[in-house]
Point group: C2
Chain length 213, copies 2
């Protein structure tokens, strides 16, 4: 059976759980915190990040790579568009969302949620203000320009939608919501993603894991 | 005609030029430095990074995404393997090489090469020593474990080989070479990649652009 290394609550691990659930592929979760110095895990993923996937002889890291692999190995239903140009745009949105956008959203989540909880430290509100007022808006403006009004990006719900929404789900745990008067298409997309049944089911599990239920 | 935004010398732009040359697809280079604050370029790439590709109505950013698109749109010769597991491993190697490995190698290049040249500043040798002695070796150990002896990773020369070699080509401009007694498979791969005719041709152009000829 496929093994997924990770924990509930990571914006990256979430994508893999949801992709597997949508494709109805059974998997086992191997509990693994990110950035552990565990030498055994570093052999699986030299970056120590999560998720990693082990499927018999194949070991893969990085949620983008894992989700692309799953779409190829278990093609129904498709989570990436078939047309070459749409497919490439989907990859780019996922790269941007999992890169710069997640870094910023994860900083809000880390500062306001994980730091008080795990380290008993106050959040750095100056850093948070800079992210919310200065660093995030150009990214949100760009995403807003790419997202259609009232529907998923490529028609059906796909990985592009989930990967864009995922960091904002974490930011919301820390009290940050995308301003729907300023970025209505993005705010609408995040809401539509949350309402997907397989997404809602995973979010319920992770809220229990994070002690938010 | 396809437009590639970027400059010679970037480890990421290099991948795209070489992919296009191998596939014999004509393109126009639009000279663009990374991290410019040019509002027009930020509309193409909100991160301000290079390369970006514009092909009629399609705008794509990120060298991984662009190279995947090119392999799909111009399939001959293939630069990614056809088997699902090999293909996914190739994506993971490219992600690692363009991520953490490039960050480290680019720091050596920036400190020793760009900083004196462009900013008339001394390199931070303490930072360089930490990268070379502490941060890079675990990445090199991992890559060494994944690379076969005496040949390319998937038989033919492909993007996985080029993306792993590319950051080390930049580090070599700054005097850092992979120690072939410690990491012989990796050092051998970098040498084999350099010897590919389309790679050698692009390296010749970029050495002229960097004033190294």
């Amino acid at each position: 059976m496929i093994k997924v290394y990770g924990v509930h609550g990571s914006p990256y691990v979430r994508k893999v759980f949801i992709a597997l659930d949508i494709k109805d592929v059974p998997y086992e979760i191997v509990r693994q915190m990110p950035f552990s110095e565990d030498a055994k895990y570093l052999k699986i993923n030299p970056l120590g990040k999560i998720p990693s996937l082990v499927d018999e002889d194949l070991t893969l890291c990085d949620s983008k790579v894992i989700c692309q692999y799953l779409d190829d190995a278990y093609p129904k239903p498709r989570l990436y568009p078939m047309r070459a140009d749409d497919w490439a745009r989907a990859l780019w949105y996922e790269d941007l969302a999992g890169g710069r956008v997640s870094e910023l959203a994860a900083s809000i989540f880390f500062q306001r949620f994980m730091r008080p909880l795990a380290f008993k430290q106050e959040p750095d509100e100056e850093l948070i203000a800079r992210i919310i007022e200065k660093d995030l808006p150009p990214m949100l403006d760009y995403l807003e320009s790419q997202i259609p009004t009232g529907r998923f990006i490529f028609g059906d719900f796909m990985m592009a939608d989930l990967s864009i929404a995922s960091p904002f789900i974490n930011a919301a745990y820390a009290g940050y919501e995308v301003d729907e008067s300023r970025w209505p298409n993005l705010a609408g997309l995040v809401a539509r993603v949350r309402a997907q049944p397989q997404v809602a089911a995973v979010l319920e599990k992770e809220q229990r894991a994070l002690g938010l239920d």
